[in-house]
Amino acid sequence: MAAPVYRASLPDANELARERRRARLRRFGGRSVLYSAASFFTLFAALPFAWMLLTVFKQNADLYDPNHNPFLYNSPPTLDNVRLLFEQTQYATFIRNTVFVSVFVVVITLVATVPAAYSLTRLAGRWGESLGIAIFLVYLIPPTLLFIPLSRVVAELGVRNSWWAMVVVYPSFTIPFCTWLLMGFFKSIPWDIEEQAMIDGYSRLGAIWRTVLPVSIPGLLTVVVFSLALTLHEFVYALAFVTSSAEKTISIGVTTELIRGDVYFWQSLMAAAAIVAIPVAILYNLFLDRFIAGFTLGAVKG
């Protein structure tokens, strides 16, 4: 086959200058589009939260005047609304219930997932990974499919209409999710160290306790954070199982007890939401990469 003539394609000076201008223009255009897009998405995502925070400190006379610019403080900011929330509503009770539920759920999740994840990564052999994925898929079974039969289960256990109902039910989604997360951690720990411990005379459980757990502390922390986050995010089960206001947690207490259509109460309501939402968001954000690593089922390495 005859080779095509080998042709040099050197740009001449004019062409170079044109290329250079074009490159500069493109860079500038690219930056403008980038910053505009970033602003647009930020505004879209943060709008309700911004409005939430702005509302919290507004005085009634300022907020409830449609002619006032809502983006400004036309009267000085006030903390009265936050005070009202804690002094005249059951918000403190909701927080207390939430803390109780969270602590129990976190502990149950840890106690169940650490052995399970270890067993699936180290002892179950070939089908450990598949079983792990199966358990993870359980997490995707929606509460909206299960709340009706679970209401029966909860009733039979005698915890209906109490925050204990959530303690019983929430691990049904925290355990599958966290088992899978923890499996990812255990997989990254070299087997050598526990085998060394076993050769050094420890039993298997002793080796786990002394070598695997200490190096998995970031993993355990992830489990704590996500069982906490999932607990705070949950809404449907709480709504279905608890009706008496003294037993409610924040996400349902705030949305069912504090919404009073007739009374102007939005500042305190927004305070109630923001006080929980922002810390949860920060905590979640710190561990977001772990969350995604689990969610992508190992389809993405690293």
């Binding site: 709340f147 705030v254 979640y284």
Partner: protein
């Protein structure tokens, strides 16, 4: 002979039963037991119970499971609200997830570039996913308020909303431009849009909040996929003379397709089964059930109405989609394992 006779097996005389806990065949299942029992008791058993309920006449008052065949399903399907809910569920899910796929690709493109304040932007755009959904929706409820919505205020100031004649007409440079573009009062001449009070707008709002809620999830999944594309491949495309769009459509998107499918499936799961958004935002599916979805309808029938059988029958309709998604997810996981 005499020397070998003195060799004693080390383990002789040791009670082997003492080591039963070290055996993998024993310890493995034992450690797995609590989790498996929990999942069977609180997911597996209820799943079966859900099916049983759907073919029984159980109510909160009388929980005995008397078989009634497909009566609950017939009743559910015969109900106009159910059909609205089914249509809404499908529409909200598909439309919102198609929008999310488009926007998530753009947002991932933005977040994979370097710019000032990127960490803050990332934190803020993640908020809809990282905050408890009920509280975020509460924020929207107030943002889309019928009277005090700041969006309405902004629209009024821009001349997009409110009267274009008379003493209440707003006049400023922006509104002049808007009116010149022929967009004056596109959101009506009243003082408010009433986002949540009119069926069509309420549906749009629910859709919007679904997009808002799942966009961050899809984005971070795509971002994770982007970091898995080797730098060398991107560099090679650059050197080969591919411009931005060629790199986007011939390199980036094709390589991202499997992970995009993962993001899409998760989006489907979370929107299809959601009841929180219509429940809070449009006060349990209003106005007049125009934003009702399967999950919230099951809740209203089964929990609030006390008709467990009918509620369960409605909820069962979530199941095929879930099973389909799970199967696809497994296939994707297996495919990425082998390649």
């Amino acid at each position: 002979m005499s020397t070998s006779a003195q060799v004693v097996p080390v383990a002789a005389g040791v009670d082997r039963r003492r080591y039963w806990l070290d055996r993998e065949g024993v310890l493995g299942p034992l450690l797995l037991l609590p989790t498996v029992v929990y999942i069977i008791a609180l997911v597996g058993f209820p799943l079966v119970l859900a099916v049983l309920y759907s073919v029984s006449d159980a109510t909160v008052g009388d929980q005995s499971l008397d078989f009634v065949g497909l009566r609950n399903f017939r009743a559910a399907i015969g109900d106009g609200t159910f059909r609205v809910a089914l249509r809404n569920t499908v529409a909200f899910t598909l439309v919102s997830q198609l929008i999310v796929m488009l926007l998530a690709n753009l947002l991932a493109l933005v977040l994979s570039a370097d710019f000032h304040g990127k960490r803050l932007v990332r934190f803020l755009v993640m908020l809809p996913w990282t905050t408890p959904v009920a509280l975020g929706v509460l924020g929207w409820l107030w943002t889309l308020d019928n009277v005090y919505s700041p969006i309405d205020y902004a629209f009024r100031q821009m001349g997009l909303l409110g009267p274009s004649i008379g003493p209440l007409r707003v006049d400023n440079p922006v509104s002049d431009v808007v009116r010149w573009l022929g967009l004056g009062s596109v959101f009506g001449t009243g003082s408010n849009v009433l986002w949540l009070a009119q069926p069509a707008l309420a549906q749009l709002s629910v859709l919007l909040v679904h997009v808002w809620r799942t966009l961050p999830l899809a984005t971070v999944i795509l971002l994770a996929g982007l970091t898995a594309i080797p730098q060398d491949v991107k560099d090679a495309a650059n050197v080969d003379g591919a411009g931005f769009f060629r790199q986007l459509f011939y390199i980036r998107i094709p390589l991202l397709l499997p992970i995009m499918a993962v993001a899409f499936l998760y989006g489907i799961v979370f929107t299809f089964t959601d009841m929180t958004i219509p429940f809070i935002l449009t006060n349990r599916g209003g106005p007049v059930d125009s934003t009702q979805v399967l999950a919230s309808w099951a809740f209203i029938k089964g929990i609030e109405g006390g008709s467990l059988g009918e509620g369960a029958a409605v909820a069962i309709f979530l199941f095929p989609v879930m099973a389909g998604v799970a199967a696809l997810m497994l296939r994707l996981a297996r495919r990425t394992e082998t390649s």
